[in-house]
Amino acid sequence: MQPLWSQQAVPRAADIISTVEFNHSGDLLATGDKGGRVVIFQREQENKSRPHSRGEYNVYSTFQSHEPEFDYLKSLEIEEKINKIRWLPQQNAAHFLLSTNDKTIKLWKISERDKRAEGYNLKDEDGRLRDPFRITALRVPILKPMDLMVEASPRRIFANAHTYHINSISVNSDHETYLSADDLRINLWHLEITDRSFNIVDIKPANMEELTEVITAAEFHPHQCNVFVYSSSKGTIRLCDMRSSALCDRHSKFFEEPEDPSSRSFFSEIISSISDVKFSHSGRYMMTRDYLSVKVWDLNMESRPVETHQVHEYLRSKLCSLYENDCIFDKFECCWSGSDSAIMTGSYNNFFRMFDRNARRDVTLEASRENSKPRASLKPRKVCTGGKRKKDEISVDSLDFNKKILHTAWHPAENIIAVAATNNLYIFQDKVN
């Protein structure tokens, strides 16, 4: 796997990108940021007169999804940062997505308007009201084309259902319901009903002193509408079947890799905390991301993962400093390629890693405008761990831990990836001539 990648960097002046998600066709790419804004990019149609703009993504719509709020009981601010965006499958001309901050989920409708009515009876073309006594004849307004306008409107607001901070939302394959998960609870919603939700998982202990783990991510199965999984801060994944009982506190399957007790250290539990869980498109596998690796699990085998890929094993000898600067708690996401043949996740220094599962090869690439030119292929990077640093290698100590790639997304069908590097969005495409 050595594709050529062209590159398009989209600089964002203000805010740090906090989530990236392609829609089901891949024509739209949504990003959410720390300032509560959602920016949607649309892929340009192929144009013979401008062959170089094939498939470029341009801004389609921008709107303010969430505003900061104040929690009166705790005297704390509720951040407007968008934690997750999930698209609904498209059913008509409009597009729908769910966006969530720590406490509130919103359903947004994004629709196009390319016609406007002219020839009203009661008002002029500039909007001024006509004097009704001066109107002597009636006319029928006609529709005229206008410049395309993309409007985003909030259609549902799902609020007040989470005491703790929402980390995940996932739309069910039934297209009617979705789940939202916070640190201790998972709720099931119907997309039409905003005044109530159904609690399906509650791991809050009666005595909070007994708290040993929290929920870190949750997702519905892509095809089986009764199945979902949730991951924990202890590195375990529970698969639940909503047919078995109303409250899914008891799992149907429990996935955990056995740990060698002699290798346990202060950091073991922290680095085993799963930051993201994603089902494969096939529905047969799921992938988990912990601090140093990504693991692929076969849903039929709970005892251990079928694949383990090291993301940045060289950080194991830096855990002390990573704990001191809080980087050990960074929550990296991971994603599958459309065919499930490859997986991708981010790292530090604006590096991201891709693993070809079939060819059993991996590559480290960098999302940076300084180190690569637009439309040039990306050069693989290498981190040097030992003593002698070869040319073009980067030593572990010169990695920039403030440049972290936490959010990446892969187009559902093609080899197009979106990589969020702090406040910059990079889109890389397979160049096929």
Partner: protein
Amino acid sequence: QDTQEKEGILPERAEEAKLKAKYPSLGQKPGGSDFLMKRLQKGVWDTISYTFTSEPKGALGMRTQKYFDSGDYNMAKAKMKNKQLPSAGPDKNLVTGDHIPTPQDLPQRKSSLVTSKLAG
């Protein structure tokens, strides 16, 4: 295979020793309830304060400030946005107070989310 495992373990243990040397008062159970409780309060790993730091730490400048009350919050927001009157987040869709609402003032009725079955 044994030596390979040990080589993998050793760096982690060495790092642990480094940490304990710097902060001897560090709790025995890092995954214990103290740790998690702080996470629940702050909500994100990177705003937890530990026993050896006095201020809650934030990555990339995330807000960790606690306010005395809602008045304090609103004044802080007003200073940030440089407005005359701080808004406590009014619902802009509601028409309140001044006059009797007319049909133009009310928000337009939006069509249903569910597509009509007639639309095939």
